[in-house]
Amino acid sequence: MANKIPRVPVREQDPKVRATNFEEVCYGYSIEEAQLEATRCLHCKNPRCVAACPVSVKIPNFIAQVAAGNFAAAASVIAEDSSLPAICGRVCPQETQCEGSCILGVKGEPVAIGKLERFVADWSRENGGVKPEVAPANGYKVAVIGSGPAGLACASDLAKLGYDVTIFEALHRPGGVLEYGIPEFRLPKDKVVAAEIESVKALGVKIETNVIAGRTVTIDSLLDEEGFAAVFVGSGAGLPKFMGIPGENLNGVFSANEFLTRNNLMKAFRDDYMTPIHAGKKVVVVGGGNVAMDAARTALRLGAETTIVYRRTENELPARREEVHHAKEEGIQFAMLTNPIEIIGDEKGWVKAVKCIRMELGEPDESGRRSPVAVPGSEFEIETETVIMSLGTSPNPLIAKTTAGLETTRRGCIVADENGATTRPGVFAGGDAVTGAATVILAMGAGRKAAAAIHEYIRNK
């Protein structure tokens, strides 16, 4: 099983240049590069990559089509299982899923499955796209709350089965976290997100923006008054967490959600939009996840010297390796084993510095990670104008509060079984609303499972 070809590197924008713009970092493979990389796949009899994919894309099959130059056929293979391949190819944590289980990775580099998926999706979009089969209309209406990855995946599968699907989105543009959370330089909005949403609409899915479930409409009104046979709740993660330290409400302290929403959804980085954003010359981002990397890299592009403060070491950073690597290349400072204990303001109530304490790693906690412990007497200050808190989110209570019979966990997440069925018949849920903040692909997986369960539920009604 000799495979002598090294993994084909992907071309990227020069770090110095990209640190000053919001253009996409990664250029993706050319046809020649993609075909060469595709020849590296060993076509295992029991492909571990497929088992590791939350939506079970038939990876070796599409890669074989790429190798043979049949890119349209490759796109059709992917489309059977994923409605958002150009997005997944860009933002999935492949290193812990498909590529993480690739047999080539044992001794060398795994096949660049993510980059190949992206290539196929981009090629397909530029060459007319895939026209998946849609079953004849079956006369049932299904409502989907939220147009993020969970909602879009659920809606696509249901539409293909012949359902009349309407997605209700609270914001003014569809896409959820793909639109407000993930920055342009990782996931272009018009070119990729809007285009993939158009392909979901092409299946017959309707999207109503500016409708807040729990306020504008309720789950009950959709089921009882508007004639929907079932509802899928994919409302996302919700309320940003703060640390609860002194000074957190000073001017210049933001949640990563606010900072990113202003820049991504509201396009503050563009001169022709009216949205204000405050970064200043120095920014401290607190946290170590993908959202922290996104916030830091956004602040950097807005012209700020940016430092990420994280209480564990680099090995524990929950962010994808690629994001950490890109952030470092671009010049983001990493202050590891550092925890903020107070935010210090000036006489006008604006942030002036963050008081931090050094940490060291102690015994492993319940998550298996070694828990950080403060080093007494090691306090120090980092001067900064802006602090961005990226500590995760807690569920938005609105839907649970306004829907009878919908149980939530102690932490406020909607209770749903592995197929997305909640405690209320006819109401299904998936994605961050159920699991708490996770990834795009896990949300899509949950959306697909729920679509199958909704189909089952309506057929047996």
Binding site: H172, V211, T216, G238, N249, T261, D272
Partner: protein
Amino acid sequence: MLTPTICRMKVKAPRLAAAALPGQFLIVRATEKGERIPLTISDYDKEAGTVTIVTQQIGASSSEIISFEAGEAFADVVGPLGIPSDFTEMPEDELRKKRFIFIAGGVGTAPVYPQVKWLHERGVAVDVIVGAKTKDLVIYKEEMEAVCDNLYLCTDDGSAGFKGLVTAMLEKLVNEEGQKYDQAVAIGPMIMMKFATLTAKKLGLPIIVSLNTLMVDGTGMCGACRVTVAGKTRFACVEGPEFNGYDVDFDEAMRRQGMYKAEEVEANEHHNCRIGRGK
């Protein structure tokens, strides 16, 4: 136009109108490249499917809103947002035992109206104090008179009604005229709500205030609207906008309201020069 800088408009939004209750707000985006602006709902007509909003020209975005002519459409309108006023949840016979005093300041008079109307329609005793800089800036006078028991006008220059602040009027009513109230509600500029709260506290009167904080999404996602209430951080968009006035840290709220002032000034200049170029 209610005054040269305050504009009232009816917006067609059937789903929103059907769900709206007193105390709630909505968010509009005037144009594709505009900001999301939270505005308190000033009235709603469930049958016609319309909501009324009142906007004062302050910055570039509000200028954009008030430049609309009848028949034009906002890029986006979303709501209702926030928790409805507490009294909408109370049993009506209990409500009728209470007497309310509303303290409205400037453009804040508009969101007071649906609350007063709602209570009046249910036979609850309601008085209203309306404050404005000068007579020409008083809005909703006739509308309010039709739905309250007593309307007390105050102007800074004495051009209409009582010459002085709304807080002085409140003290006068309670201390000099012996009026008794069970619940006060203040809606207006943050500074007015702060002093209305201090006065109410002095008079031993419970007071609710409606906080017009900065917001982006209005659904709890961004946290721009956070305020300290009774020592705890709360999100005005999903846990408010109404809070017990006694508990609110108004100084912090006022400081946070000015967070984007520097950027606003820049946007205004930009906006004005764009207008200049157009002409």
